[in-house]
Symmetry: C2
Subunit: 101 residues, 2 copies
């Protein structure tokens, strides 16, 4: 679970579609697959990636796998982002942007 994997995972539109579906509540794999125009296998592969980087958790009950959002990955991203912004926000605020050159 690192920032590279989180960003890479979310960089794929299909995976982001999965995450956005899960934003509204837990879903099964085949439920997730429905709106996407790909095979169940492909969705399962995406889920593995999303799980590995901490964006999604799943649990199997019976023959269906239940998927839900995992805040951990999003927190990692949020922290990285606000750190980056902290680096330059103050400097850019000074309008001294041009002076730095």
């Amino acid at each position: 679970m690192n920032i590279t994997n989180v960003l890479h995972a979310l960089g794929d539109p299909t995976r982001r579609a999965i995450v956005e579906q899960l934003g509204t509540g837990p879903r099964s794999v085949s439920h997730l697959a429905e709106p996407l125009n790909i095979t169940l296998t492909a969705v399962a592969q995406h889920l593995q990636i999303l799980q590995a980087c901490g964006l999604v958790t799943t649990s199997k009950s019976g023959r269906t796998r239940n998927c839900r959002v995992n805040p951990a990955g999003f927190l990692l991203l949020g922290n990285w982002l606000s750190y980056q912004q902290s680096l330059w926000s103050r400097r850019l605020d000074r309008l001294g942007d041009i002076l730095d050159e």
Copy 2:
């Protein structure tokens, strides 16, 4: 300039290294290339991608191209992220996480 491109751009470690360098201030292309173990051409290609998605801006003065952070792309990412979090944060807070199933 869309969220897919921003996330995809930042998903690459080399590009993120470039962004992080620029976090501390403007840099030329060859200056950016120094710590990275790749050719100048490769860096220039990464910069094109970073520019296209609104994470970096550049301007040429003389024979050197000056690169700096562009907040626009980061804002796009920040907005997407906080929107996602707004989708599930309240629901997960209710501890009713399990009830949703």
